[in-house]
């Protein structure tokens, strides 16, 4: 390891309602691989976005190569040698690998683009990195893993001095990861400073020199990898005092019937052989890190996305558990399942419409009298739920876009309550909602469970999972890795199962 190339000191950044970065310190040396770890929402990505100019910091300083710097956009950062390899690929599918790598800076030979040169340079690049990709191949023909390798090659070709890898191994195979590590080691030899954002404990141990842990937007500490254990790191990641008491034991009676049974659900890489049961009146927490496959499982179960195989059984109104075919959300809704999406604004509500229109969207048959919509009834029901859920809105006609996040969520909940769905899937129910509204949603969920509704709660917030769940399912990379009763659950063992381990 050489001298320090980058120092981020006291970085502070807030968004409306969220204090994303709270006086964070981060330092990178030449010739080191420095891991940046933390749970979802810890602030890792935000910190890097501030560094590379996607966001502007509120306060603090960034010193790069001895000079106080601030990048205003990614182009500036790129030109200075600070490059980020994003999780979300930015590739043009219809162009070839070589064309993508050199996009925007194509070498020319007279009038024509020198494709030959681009291919040669790419070949050289791939050779140096020991990757086997044909630069003449069209990007959309490559696997996601290979595309990521190209993204990495592209970043390196910018003569970077600091490279940030954001969850690079998420889409790679074992072999590709091994190749990636060879590349990273090579870059380290060459004196680059490498930031490695990942939650994979085993990889951290193998490839990194130091580890910085963030938690809830704050800086927790930096460890030297070879001197620390997995437990040390996990403790730093989750070691918070939970003020609200976690649930001590399950509220579900031992003889409560199974209302939903999922067996061997398969839907692509993100949902592999997932099986679980949901019991009446239970709140089943789904824990795991980003990309674990929880939302994908819910969507496949709900019929929103196609699945390859899987048996789903739902308890009917008569109390019998029977197998059902769910190929579309229409089917799922018919069987009494409701789904509250992760991205409320995009998939949960029709924001340009009113509370009334949103609340009755899943139950329009109930509100039609002959040909016409029974507006009075619609309004009545909507107002009933506004009262019941304490939704803060001046009138029932108010457009949902004008409500705060928490209240928008309540409108979505009202929609499914109107439908009288017995099984509710909440995907990140309190994301982006302030503390006060959060508590209201929790109270609501508990009330629903007590009334006999069954809830699947997908959440990345440890506190929330421990507070609300009767039982916790943990997923990691598309597979179910844990199924724990709340009485045995701790932050540590949840996190343990949520992070991949090489056996």
């Amino acid at each position: 390891m050489g001298e320090v190339i980058l120092t981020m000191k006291d970085i502070d950044k807030s968004f409306p309602g969220v204090h994303a970065l709270d006086h964070v310190n981060f330092e990178v040396k030449r010739g080191e691989v420095h891991a940046l770890m933390g749970e979802n929402g810890a602030g890792k990505s935000t910190l890097m976005k501030v560094l590379t100019g996607i966001y502007q910091k509120d306060s603090g300083s960034i010193v790069y190569k001895g000079k106080e710097t601030e990048f205003h956009n990614t182009r500036e950062a790129q030109d200075a040698g600070v490059v980020i390899v994003h999780q979300e690929l930015n590739m043009v599918g219809d162009l070839t690998v070589a064309q993508n790598i050199f996009i925007g800076r194509e070498p020319k030979k007279g009038f024509r683009i020198d494709d030959k040169k681009m291919i040669e340079e790419s070949k050289k690049l791939f050779q140096e990195l020991n990757i086997e990709i044909d630069p003449r191949e069209k990007m959309h023909n490559l696997t996601v893993g290979k595309q990521q390798m190209c993204e990495i090659a592209k970043a390196i070709s910018h003569k970077a001095e600091v490279i940030i890898f954001d969850e690079p191994s998420a889409a790679l195979t074992e072999k590709e990861i091994a190749d990636l590590f060879v590349i990273i080691r090579d870059l380290r030899e060459k004196g680059l400073g490498i930031v490695y954002i990942s939650h994979r404990m085993d990889e951290i141990k193998v490839i990194t020199d130091r580890v910085t842990v963030m938690r809830d937007g704050g800086y927790v500490g930096t460890l030297i990898t070879k001197d620390s254990t997995k437990e040390d790191i996990i403790n730093m990641m989750v070691g918070r005092v939970i003020y609200e008491d976690p649930k001590q034991h399950s509220m579900v009676a031992p003889d409560a019937p199974v209302v939903l049974k999922v067996e061997h659900l398969n839907a692509g890489k993100m949902v592999q052989d997932v099986s679980f049961e949901l019991r009446k009146g239970e709140i089943l927490g789904f824990s795991g890190l980003m990309g674990a496959g929880r939302t994908e499982t819910a969507r496949a179960l709900f019929g929103a996305d196609p699945k390859q195989s899987g048996k789903i059984s739902v308890m009917g109104k008569d109390g019998q558990l029977r197998e059902v075919t769910i190929n579309s959300p229409q089917d799922a809704v018919k069987y009494g399942i409701g789904y509250l999406s992760e991205d409320r604004r995009r998939y949960g509500c029709v924001v340009q419409k009113s509370c009334i229109e949103n609340t009755t969207l899943a139950t329009m048959e109930q509100f039609t009298k002959g040909f016409l919509i029974d507006s009075a009834k619609e309004k009545e029901v909507t107002e009933k739920y506004i009262k019941e859920l304490a939704t803060k809105t001046p009138t029932a006609d108010q457009l949902v876009v004008n409500l705060s996040g928490g209240n928008q969520q309540k409108v979505v909940i009202a929609k499914w309550l109107t439908r009288d769905s017995d099984i509710l899937i909440f995907d990140e129910p309190t994301r982006g909602i302030d503390v006060g509204a959060k508590n209201e949603i929790y109270k609501l969920m508990n009330k629903l469970a007590a009334e006999g509704k069954s809830i699947i709660m997908i959440s990345s917030e440890m506190t929330e999972v421990l507070r609300m769940s009767d039982r916790i399912i943990i997923m990691c990379e598309g597979k179910v890795t844990g199924n724990i009763d709340i009485s045995e659950a701790t932050q540590e063992n949840i996190m343990d199962k949520a992070t991949r381990s090489i056996d």
Binding site: V92, G93, R112, I113, H140, N141, Q147
Partner: protein, 326 residues
């Protein structure tokens, strides 16, 4: 999200070429008149303006947009050109230049409306279609000079006539220019920044913008190029239309656009080929001119062009769906 479409591009163009050969063979076999040299000549004559429009509109289609003003635009420029020659005594060469310039002008207008003001392409060009049609209607029907008249030399660009009268030999050298232009534009598409960025815009506009490409500029240029070729098409149209009628033109763009889709352009953009357009146009042309020879009323051609467009697009959509499912 990237499109996982398998690139069987060469296959589609080759298949379309086979279709062209097959259609030619079928029509020749079924109709004696079709087999005549003069018929072939006439077919080629009438293909030039469609082909030029099609080459031009290939680019907007690759970006996932469209230019519906090419038909009326072409007629409008031909009318204005003709009026300049007849009423103002402007030399033919200048009128030809005016056509191209007008094309570039309207193309720029389209480009700005779509690339800078972000209007939906079909609507913006539907409006410029109306505007050019209206402008064209203001002119009176004016023929460009005939072959034997002064200024009529421009016909020779498309068809070389040696000798006079009935027994003259006519050679469709226009076809040669077309081939050259097609090869040129295919080169531009595949080997220049302009072509490369056209594809990038159609494939993933955000990624292109994030890679530092001046997306606005190239998006506008796509329509300027289309306009330029519409201008050229106007000249070709004038060469085969004895008297250009004001108010016509709507519907001519269908053949051109249909040809591009048959040639394999992706329904939502990101992929296209000028060579594909070339063979695609010939399918359309063959159907258009050949069907009457085997007894099908000329008007069926419109129905068939419409159906061909839908089938071509459906094939593309189904291919993509299949590939995405892999």
């Amino acid at each position: 999200m990237t499109k996982k479409k398998k690139s069987i591009l060469s296959d589609q163009r080759f298949i379309v070429l086979l279709v062209v050969i097959a259609l030619t063979a079928i029509f020749s076999f079924m109709s004696k008149e079709f087999r005549q040299y003069n018929t072939m000549l006439s077919l080629l004559d009438f293909s030039y303006y469609d082909l030029l429009m099609a080459i031009g509109v290939t680019f907007p289609l690759i970006t996932g947009g469209v230019d519906l003003s090419i038909g009326t635009g072409m007629v409008c420029y031909a009318l204005i050109g003709g009026t300049l020659i007849r009423s103002h005594g402007i030399p033919v060469i200048v009128a030809m230049l005016v056509c191209v310039l007008l094309g570039v002008l309207i193309g720029t207008l389209n480009g700005v409306l779509i690339g800078v003001m972000n209007l939906p392409p079909f609507l913006a060009t539907l409006c410029t279609c109306m505007i050019t049609r209206g402008a064209g209607s203001l002119c009176t029907a004016t023929p460009w000079p005939g072959l034997t008249q002064e200024g009529g030399w421009f016909h020779s660009i498309f068809k070389l006539t040696i000798g006079t009268g009935r027994s003259a030999d006519r050679y469709p050298i226009g076809f040669l220019w077309m081939v050259i232009l097609v090869l040129l534009m295919e080169f531009v598409l595949n080997h220049t920044k302009f072509g490369r960025y056209t594809i990038a815009i159609g494939s993933n506009k955000e990624a292109a913008a994030l890679s530092g490409i001046n997306v606005k500029f190239y998006h506008v240029m796509v329509y300027v190029v289309c306009g330029l070729f519409t201008g050229l098409a106007a000249i070709a149209y004038a060469a085969v239309t004895p008297t250009v009628q004001p108010g016509t033109g709507a519907g001519l763009e269908m053949d051109a656009i249909g040809g591009v889709f048959v040639g394999g352009v992706a329904a939502t953009g990101g992929y296209g080929s000028v060579l594909g357009t070339f063979v695609g146009i010939f399918v359309i042309m063959l159907l258009k001119t050949g069907l009457p020879y085997i007894g099908l009323q000329a008007n069926w051609q419109q129905i068939i062009t419409g159906l061909v467009l839908i089938v071509a697009v459906l094939i593309d959509i189904i291919k993509e769906k299949k590939a995405a499912a892999l």
